[in-house]
């Protein structure tokens, strides 16, 4: 049994969950990488390709030095060969100078993403770093076991490194970043307590609508839809809330989501590459959105996609049907 470094114990005590989309316990991931033999690598994921998510950019703009501090802690803890910050194209262009100044002579490199949304998927990211096509790898093995150049690799979101630095400084206050957008008065990023409910977040940020609405949490593409009566719970997902007017037409809504997935599909597997294309076709041609054809494609995406992108396609749609369109409560009953 390997003796764990102090920082991993502190992260565990803080109960930190990864700030990317997968919500994996950070201490567990750090322990997995720590226990692997061999030369190690650190990767900081700033692909931030999900719609309605811009919290990592907030960090790059306001506190990049804290995030870099977190990466340095990782470099030291794992005695890693080097760290790579993987940035979406626009962030690379805008923040590379500032980041390079902060990095100085430390073994941290910057890498500009060439693809898009799929580049945020960790194994696709690793393939891109290796000069390969931006397509995901078969999992298992997972990056802690075999990642960059088949070596044990820690892949964490930028905000996760930010939180780790705060934990190390004993300044972590169980807060996380929340992006709010959509039909709201004040679009932006707020640093709020993890345990705050969605309702409390909207009230505190003066964003609670005075019209009938529904929300999408966890991302503006792959996030779940919840109705007005379901907001007494914390976000429990990627820090993002999108507000929609209740009456938004279903077809336009689905088109918005599916067009995104179809454009961002890497093209590797049949259900995602072909399925999202055909969903788009059905939506645009006025086809039956609850017909067998549409539902068969969603089923194939759910059950047989190669990676998480394909598996996420049906999330907003199914949750919209369950919680909004066919909600068990009357969502138009006025509560004002």
């Amino acid at each position: 049994m390997v003796r764990l470094p102090e920082i991993i114990k502190k992260i565990e005590k803080a109960g930190l969950i990864g700030r990317g989309c997968c919500n994996f316990p950070t201490a567990k991931k750090w322990q997995m990488v720590y226990e692997q033999p061999g030369e190690k690598y650190i990767v900081c994921n700033v692909s931030e390709g999900e719609l309605a998510v811009f919290k990592d950019e907030w960090i790059l703009r306001n506190h990049p030095e804290i995030a870099i501090e977190g990466i340095k802690i990782a470099l030291k803890t794992f005695k890693a060969k080097k760290a790579i910050i993987y940035l979406q194209k626009r962030y690379f262009k805008k923040y590379q100078d500032r980041l390079n100044r902060l990095i100085g002579r430390v073994k941290i490199e910057l890498f500009a993403e060439q693809s898009g949304y799929i580049g945020g998927e960790e194994t696709t990211l690793l393939n891109a770093l290796e000069g390969k096509r931006s397509e995901p790898r078969q999992k298992p093995p997972y990056p802690p076991e075999s990642g960059f150049l088949d070596q044990p690799t820690l892949v964490n979101n930028l905000e996760t490194f930010y939180d780790i630095a705060l934990i190390n400084r004993d300044e972590y206050k169980q807060k996380r970043l929340v992006c709010i957008s959509g039909e709201v008065r004040r679009t932006g990023v707020w640093e709020l307590l993890e345990k705050m409910t969605i309702k409390e977040i909207l009230e505190k940020t003066s964003n609670y609508p005075n019209f009938h609405f529904f929300v999408q949490v966890g991302g503006g593409a792959s996030g779940k839809c919840l109705n007005e009566t379901q907001l007494n719970t914390p976000i429990c997902a990627l820090g993002s809330i999108v507000i929609y007017k209740l009456k938004v037409p279903e077809r336009a809504l689905f088109a918005h989501w599916i067009n995104f997935f179809q454009k961002e599909s890497c093209g590797k597997c049949v259900p995602c590459r072909e399925g999202t294309y055909r969903l788009k076709e059905i939506i645009e041609s006025g086809g039956d959105l609850e017909g067998d054809l549409f539902k068969d494609i969603l089923f194939s995406l759910d059950s047989s996609s190669f990676c998480g992108l394909g598996k996420a396609v049906s999330i907003p749609i199914r949750s919209y049907w369950k919680n909004i369109k066919y909600a068990k409560v009357d969502l138009e009953r006025s509560i004002f």
């Binding site: 096509r133 072909e274 055909r278």
Partner: protein, 604 residues
């Protein structure tokens, strides 16, 4: 001994080894799981999502990637599996333009079989690729992007061949497989992409149409067909016969039935190649020329050397490949015999190879460059010839066995084993051994040049002609075998390589003087020509082994096992060449130059 693991499939227990996938176990036990993008020669792609199975918790996984573990319980063909599989199959069909009517794989196609098995009459989706391009690589291969489902198999095998000529570009539904613009890479026309494509999107450049036209409107031409050694143990597969079934006699009948005037055997040509290559090997050794000498009858390997390793061009034998020699002799020696002008003779080779389509266009392989007379005019792959026979409703299985035509139809065992990796080497050494003993006994090569079939007085027993050479796989270099043999009274260090990926390894080692060989045989295709780009699909290591074993069995069963005892070969040397070394040089030898990039061009 690998650890044994017990898993359950449909409530029945099966034994597996650690590292096996569920698909491996299913295949070993005759359980049917459809898989389109999976190929045992290649890394798993995992993209077609047809090989689905259901886990105990209801989750669907692809059986090609699911590794076995103790207690694993799998169900095949559950309602969930069938629903996802049917949808994925329909999606695949809609991404593949159906051109079955003009496709060589028609009725022999994995995709068609899946449609039958899953009772899909039509996809609920419209085909989306009618605007895709057709791209030709050099003069031997072409891809129809409208049929391509972007599985990546061709890219993977081209990577294994160390050519990396193909790549995937774009994303989402804009993804395409196309040749690279990197001018340091080129196609070697080996056709491994063709035999690993599950949907018939890549083909050898077809020659069957002009051949069919000639067969129908003779135009007073003499039409000659000649079959490679590999065809006789492979073409049966196209007609649902067993792997490795020997059908030489039926092939002779088939060639005549479809309209050819003469049915010749390239195994005879191979005996000429052996005779000349053995002479060259001895000359090479005695004069200490560029060691090692490399065989050059494989045009895929020759293209690889000429483009990627031109510094080794001087190491390639100048002896022409078997069908080039027999094509040349057909238009010279045989033309004289039947008193016809070579311009009226058309030679069609039936080959397991796509690179031969390129080989016949090289200037050095013209019989007469000025008069534009090629040694060989057309090359039909095994598949193309089977397709031609089907078109002409020739029931191959029912054909009677006939003999090849005289003059260029009798072959030795050595000539037949050319199709298997190591066969060229063995054949050449059997004859080189004899030549050296003749030289030792008579003091000259005169009797050899005159085709006298000199009978040795002493040391008549030749070990090398009576037994297989025992090759050992070179440690740490999988795919390269070597041995030390005695020919005459000399020791030679020899190596046999198949796959240009392995050829690259040996070339790099030779460059760095990390190894020494006197003579090396290189075949671009796995297992040799029997694994060639023109062969029937499917292909895998077991099928290739059966084809190769059948060739060695022919060798065993033939009384004459050496090229230098082939009466037809001796007849040509005695009565046509008559010791004229310049004539032999002109008709049976060519030099090579560095290759310019053949690249690609869009033809649609």
């Amino acid at each position: 001994m690998l650890k044994q693991i017990k898993i359950q499939i449909n409530n029945k227990e099966y034994s597996a080894q650690a590292g096996d996938t569920v698909l491996d176990v299913a295949r070993k036990n005759g359980l049917k799981i459809p898989a389109l993008c999976y190929h045992p020669d290649l890394q798993v792609q995992g993209m077609c999502r047809l090989c689905l199975v259901e886990l105990e918790n209801g989750q669907l996984v692809t059986s090609c990637t699911e590794k076995v573990r103790e207690g694993l319980k799998i169900k095949l063909n559950t309602p969930a599996v069938r629903r996802a599989r049917k949808t994925n199959l329909e999606l695949i069909f809609a991404s593949h333009e159906e051109k079955c009517g003009s496709c060589i794989l028609n009725k022999n196609c994995a995709l068609q079989k899946l449609a039958r098995d899953f009772k899909i009459e039509r996809s609920r989706f419209q085909e989306r690729k009618d605007d895709r391009a057709e791209i030709q690589f050099g003069d031997a291969i072409f891809i129809d992007q409208s049929k391509c489902i972007e599985c990546g198999n061709c890219i993977e095998v081209c990577r294994q061949q160390e050519c990396n000529f193909l790549e995937k570009v774009g994303a989402s539904t804009k993804t395409r497989v196309q040749p690279t613009d990197d001018f340091t890479k080129d196609c070697i026309y080996c056709g491994q992409c063709v035999v690993h494509c599950p949907v018939g999107a890549i083909h050898g450049l077809p020659h069957w149409e002009p051949v069919e036209e000639l067969l129908q409107k003779k135009n007073n031409k003499v039409l000659i067909a000649q079959i490679a050694p590999s065809i006789r143990v492979s073409i049966g597969e196209e007609f649902k016969m067993d792997y490795g079934e020997v059908v030489t006699g039926q092939l002779a009948t088939a060639m005549r039935a479809v309209g050819f005037d003469y049915a010749f055997d390239v195994s005879t040509g191979a005996d000429f190649t052996t005779y000349e290559e053995a002479r060259e090997l001895i000359h090479w050794i005695l004069n200490k020329k560029d060691i090692p000498m490399f065989t050059s009858c494989c045009p895929g390997w020759v293209k690889f050397a000429r483009f990627y390793y031109p510094e080794f061009i001087s190491h390639l034998t100048s002896t022409d490949s078997p069908h080039i020699i027999s094509g040349t002799l057909a238009k010279t020696y045989f033309a004289d015999k039947i008193n016809r002008d070579p311009r009226d003779i058309v030679v069609t080779s039936i080959m397991p190879c796509t690179a031969k389509k390129h080989e016949i266009n090289l200037e050095s392989h013209y019989l007469d460059l000025k008069k534009k007379i090629k040694s060989v005019d057309y090359v039909l792959t095994t598949r193309e010839f089977a397709y031609l026979l089907r078109r002409h409703k020739i029931d191959f299985k029912k054909l009677k066995s006939e003999k090849m035509d005289d003059a260029l139809g009798v072959s030795s065992g050595a000539g037949n084993i050319y199709g298997a990796s190591g066969g060229v080497m063995e054949s050449a050494l059997r004859t080189a051994d004899y030549f050296l003993r003749v030289y030792k006994e008579t003091g000259s090569f005169k009797s050899i040049l005159n085709g006298e079939n000199y009978k040795l007085k002493k040391e008549k027993f030749s070990k090398i002609a009576q037994s297989r050479i025992e090759f050992k796989e070179v440690r740490g270099q999988q795919g390269i075998k070597d041995a030390i043999v005695r020919i005459g009274n000399r020791k030679l260090k020899i190596a046999v390589v198949n796959g240009t990926g392995n050829a690259k390894k040996i070339l790099e080692n030779l460059k760095r003087k990390r190894c020494y060989y006197d003579y090396v045989e290189v075949m671009a295709c796995p297992g040799g020509c029997i694994g060639g780009g023109g062969q029937p699909v499917p292909t895998n290591s077991e099928i290739r082994r059966k084809r190769a074993d059948a060739l060695y069995q022919i060798d065993e069963n033939l009384k004459i096992k050496t090229a230098h005892e082939n009466p037809e070969v001796l007849d040509v040397y005695k009565n046509y060449f008559r010791g004229d070394e310049e004539l032999m040089e002109r008709l049976m030898h060519s030099g090579f130059e560095e290759a310019m990039r053949g690249g690609y061009k869009k033809i649609k």
